[in-house]
């Protein structure tokens, strides 16, 4: 029943999924934290930018964002991210960009909710010691905030893992694209879809368990 699997490199496709998840995950974590900092900053224009970014990007369908990165950024504006003559690399980078930009909006909101769990007294005390805004945020507030949002961030990461399948829309050779190929060739819809569903469970279930355990350990008991 499974003998046709020999013709396909399942591991390579899932490895691409993992790479997309890791790179987009790191990018969105950095960019999302910056956005959260903007949203709580004392500068009105930064607060405004952060709010506008989150509300716009979070409400655009991911498919639109990913397809726009390829059809719009690359084809119309010629933004190829340093890979103009290798389409596969270019599509991968564009997909990471799109996924990261989208996920950052959710990371931002998770981090912001974490900042809200830190008692105001902490920030006030830090200010009283004469720390600047970035010191207050970087040394006092964010370290506490992150410990309380490991759970929500795990959800964002799991959603990101599954969202990488959208990259197939611009031809990144990850799991969903291989699934399409296999269904096209083998005419075994349920079996193949089942294999890929299982693959994603294998990827996301341990992530949830490990980070869930970590979240419980790290949480600040107040």
């Amino acid at each position: 029943m499974f003998d046709f699997l020999e013709d396909y490199d399942l591991l390579e496709a899932f490895w691409m999924t993992v790479k997309l998840t890791v790179f987009a995950g790191i990018g969105s974590l950095v960019w999302g934290t910056l956005l959260a900092a903007m949203r709580v900053s004392p500068v009105p224009v930064m607060r405004w930018f952060g709010t506008a970014y989150v509300n716009i990007v979070r409400n655009i369908p991911l498919t639109v964002i990913i397809v726009f990165s390829s059809l719009g950024l690359a084809d119309v504006f010629g933004i190829t991210l340093g890979a103009a003559d290798d389409v596969d690399v270019m599509s991968f980078r564009l997909a990471v960009l799109g996924l990261g930009a989208y996920t950052a909006a959710f990371v931002c909101e998770a981090v912001r909710s974490g900042i809200n769990t830190v008692p105001v007294g902490q920030a006030e005390a830090a200010r009283a010691l004469g720390l600047s805004f970035s010191q207050v945020l970087g040394l006092i507030v964010l370290p506490q905030a992150f410990r309380s949002v490991i759970g929500p961030l795990t959800n964002v990461l799991i959603a990101l893992t599954k969202n990488t399948t959208v990259a197939a829309a611009i031809g990144v050779a990850e799991a969903a694209l291989l699934m399409k190929e296999m269904i096209e060739n083998e005419a075994q819809l349920f079996l193949i879809a089942g294999i890929f569903a299982f693959g994603f469970v294998v990827l996301t279930l341990p992530t949830g368990l490990i980070l869930g355990w970590l979240g419980k350990r790290m949480a600040v008991k107040r």
Binding site: F4, V67, S70, L71, A74, D75, V76, D85, D86, V87, S91, A168, A169, I170, G171, L177, L178, M179, K180, E181, I183, E184, N185, E186, A187, Q188, L189, F190
Partner: protein, 277 residues
């Protein structure tokens, strides 16, 4: 006035009884078609020239073939319910009995034959390229280094990667429509899939004269009509209908009508059961 109404009614009754008997005979192995009044046929909704849903109805070569076959099976054009069957969905739609048969640029191959049966083939298509009218691409290997566009996961895209031009820059999108705009703007150099589908695009009003088929005949695609596994009675009837369609020149007319404007040089009608490897 009255007399005319009576004749019309009589004609209608006659037509109904004829179609009813025509279906009644094959109802034994035909569960769930509701007494044979309606027939559900699977086609593509998004391929101009082959199977396209428009505000005014359905057009394309597959639609014409399916209508002819349905007529031979005893269904009038008005009795047909068209159902969209995307590539990934075709086998399950037949197995579940959602559709009676499928005419949707459905290439016959061994893996599919394990799941469903095929009548026909009714058209021999080839994988080909759609290029800008002033482009010169004469063989598959010319594509190495060029930017090529196809649909994600399609057989055509896989052929390019594995056999025709492994060094081509292949971009894969969800639909051919996303590719064809890139062809106009220069973001891609060629669009690849079956020549029948490409001819349909090239023949569309807004692309006329801008694009041409390269005519490379990279692969052989034998389009068959997919039916439920083991329904040999239906298979025989469809084969007979297809033979008749070629014989009375309706086949030729349908090809000319749907692919003609793109200078598509079609293959002669394939013989039933004759699969070109």
């Amino acid at each position: 006035m009255k007399a005319r109404k009576v004749t019309a009614a009589a004609a209608a009754v006659l037509a109904l009884s004829v179609s009813a008997t025509a279906c009644g005979s094959d109802d034994k192995d035909d569960k769930g078609s509701g007494g044979g009044k309606k027939i559900t046929i699977g086609i593509k909704f998004d391929q101009p020239g082959v199977g396209l849903k428009t505000p005014d109805g359905y057009t394309g070569f597959d639609v014409d073939v399916a209508t002819y076959v349905a007529k031979e099976l005893g269904y009038k054009a008005g009795d047909i319910e068209w159902k969209e069957t995307p590539s990934a969905d075709r086998e399950t739609a037949l197995q579940r009995g959602d559709v009676k048969f499928i005419a949707a640029s459905y290439s016959i191959n061994d893996e599919r034959k394990e799941k469903v049966d095929f009548a026909g083939p009714y058209l021999l298509a080839h994988q080909d390229l759609l290029v800008r009218s002033d482009d010169k691409i004469t063989k598959g290997t010319d594509l190495n280094g060029k930017k090529l566009c196809s649909v994600t996961g399609s057989t055509s895209a896989q052929n390019v990667k594995k056999e025709i031009a492994p060094k081509a820059q292949l971009r894969e999108y969800g639909t051919y429509s996303e590719c064809i705009d890139g062809l106009g703007s220069g973001a891609v150099d060629a669009l690849t899939t079956d020549d029948s589908i490409l001819a349909g695009y090239a023949a569309q009003e807004q692309y006329k004269g801008k694009y041409k088929l390269a005519g490379l005949k990279l692969t052989n695609e034998n389009y068959g009509i997919g039916i439920k596994k083991g329904d040999s009675a239906l298979q025989k009837k469809i084969d007979a209908a297809l033979t008749k369609m070629v014989k009375d020149k309706s086949w030729e007319a349908a090809v000319k009508k749907n692919f003609g404007p793109a200078n598509y040089k079609n293959e002669p009608a394939p013989k039933i059961g004759d699969i070109v490897k």
